[in-house]
Symmetry: C2
Subunit: 418 residues, 2 copies
Amino acid sequence: MTNTFSISDMAKAARAASRKMARCPTHQKNTLLRHMADLIESNADRIQTENRKDIAYAHTKGLSAAMIDRLTVSGDTIRSMSEGLRDVASLPDPVSEITRVWNRPNGLQVSKMRIPLGVIAIIYESRPNVTIDAAGLCLKAGNAAILRGGSEALHSNQVLADIIRMALSQSGLPLDAAQVIPVRDRSAVTDLLQLEEFIDLVIPRGGEGLIRFVVENSRIPVLKHYKGVCHVYVDDTAELDMALSISMNAKVQRPGVCNSMETLLVHRSMAETFLPLMAKSMQNAGVELRGCAESCHMIPGMIPATEADWPTEYNDLILSVKVVSGMDEAISHIETYGSSHTEAIVTRDYERARRFIREVDSSVVLVNASTRFNDGHQLGLGAEIGISTTKLHAFGPMGLEELTAAKFVVMGDGQIRT
Amino acid sequence: MTNTFSISDMAKAARAASRKMARCPTHQKNTLLRHMADLIESNADRIQTENRKDIAYAHTKGLSAAMIDRLTVSGDTIRSMSEGLRDVASLPDPVSEITRVWNRPNGLQVSKMRIPLGVIAIIYESRPNVTIDAAGLCLKAGNAAILRGGSEALHSNQVLADIIRMALSQSGLPLDAAQVIPVRDRSAVTDLLQLEEFIDLVIPRGGEGLIRFVVENSRIPVLKHYKGVCHVYVDDTAELDMALSISMNAKVQRPGVCNSMETLLVHRSMAETFLPLMAKSMQNAGVELRGCAESCHMIPGMIPATEADWPTEYNDLILSVKVVSGMDEAISHIETYGSSHTEAIVTRDYERARRFIREVDSSVVLVNASTRFNDGHQLGLGAEIGISTTKLHAFGPMGLEELTAAKFVVMGDGQIRT
């Protein structure tokens, strides 16, 4: 907040701190996370006082009720931040883990050892709890973090940054291991994205606009999540009740999130029995149905889908429905309109289950289970920092392991090349 | 070579071909590689005729003898291309490999399955054999490849592209699975680097200028190798003969490559015995020595090193030498001047070996072995497409596995989220 703020000094300090974090023993990192959790609880009033300044500012800016809701730090937010940190403290440390060892004919023993990535920048939008969740995961994996939340959350993020620094200090760790960018100016982000020398990875979390901005302006590698246009394909061998239950869960359990279903594909031989039951349940749950010509013909009240519907992530109680002739058309529809996020098949056919698994090119592919399981906690990663929908480095939910790299370690007794 | 050439059509065709390649069974991919090998041998004359056109062009352009040497396709080059392909055919197929399986309390079985990355663009300089080596590795890992060699190698690369197409056709695979950009114009590369939608990864291979150009202009993720400033640290507990043998091998066995040693760090207590012997051997092998003040004082004929020497990749018979007070100074020197490529320690001390392995942040860290082992063949990866010196996705030599990603596969019996 001073005139002397320099994003490049911040990044340099993060690089130096990352070297110390990389060597930090597991117990010290766990102590750090538990100190953070305690300090969040003991400073709850102070956090909420600062948060109210952001909320007041948001009102003067005329932000939407939904935005203000995301910005608000409630008692539940406080609890969920500290419990999240204690959970991460109890997860295994990925750093120094040996994932594979093999021997060479000349007697060299080669292994791969997990190491921290180094410095990770997280660029996100309004929720202040991301400051704590992201810092906790980055630090546990031995990295330094540079955090940049939404400009509307600046006071909240600054007080959380202060708490992290107190915890780093109590734990004898470098104060620059987690830093929040203290200015609202967007040019700080543009400048940050050029600092390839000091920052190893950028993770943007937020709307497609933010993510495209980061990808287009970054020289640093980006792990990104564009959108989740998730499909469920109900095969003609599907068990009717299971198909209904998975479809309903995938659509209505939490329609605003990326792993909810946006398009339901139904085998033609199944359509006549399945579609009316599905439509009734969906309509009872308040879901607006937009269908292909064939399904509109079968279901009264269904709105004709247009070409614009198929690639759309509604994030809402809206579902597009298409009758397909079988696996070929289902897979081809997913290839054309999907987002490589999450797709599920409901089937009793062994061959088709195998084919769907092999041929569908998404970060999570499920057989007879809801798309809502694409989530770090649900899949057993312990916690997640986001979901990647591009394939490099990580594809799907990213946990602690995805915040590490691996180096080769070679042990010899004097071997040379001839 | 025609007016109608469009880089974006090429990339679209590659994307479509990549979907077919991703589903191609292992035996068919191996047959493809063996067809390529046979066709290279049976078309050796044609390849060399086209190659002579490039060499003639290179002479008119006044290219250096070293450049012309790299450009030349000899009988040995032909043999090494076809043997390389047959070797890759015999390697295990990484695609569909399940790397981990675990169960969730709700009965879901979760696994990680390797899948191809999709479309890989390789941008390289003068050696035409890279066209074949890179295409072979990309195709074996189920990817499509877009290849862009040096403009001086255009005729050679075009005939090799033609041979790859013949082999794809003989194997019943899509002809667009490996394409060579048929124009010299550099803007084709700039355009290619924007096609994030169709291309998943770019691997530049060549000098630092080429690599920086790609990083600065690409929206597509880049796997890159900036430089190899490799260090050997001779600890005071090192066995003298082993330290000499490893140092000599690391410097002189092939000084022009990235994994050769550029800087030798020597523990002060070892300097008096080790440096004179090392200097004599190095000088006998024609190595120019550039030393810190302390080593210059001990070794007659050593040139004083300047600050500019420490971060320099000589790629030549030149070695910088520094006396250090111990592990702390050695590791700190590597952190300051190294390139995260390859570092080795020579020691008999258990604790120091462990500390060097843990704390040195390079893609390959060796104990009592030559830096020259940072190589896909030497480390047992079978073949390599390059060495990555940044940590995301791959760090160190990249084999077939590094040309794949992994998706989550979830098998259930109707599970939904509650």
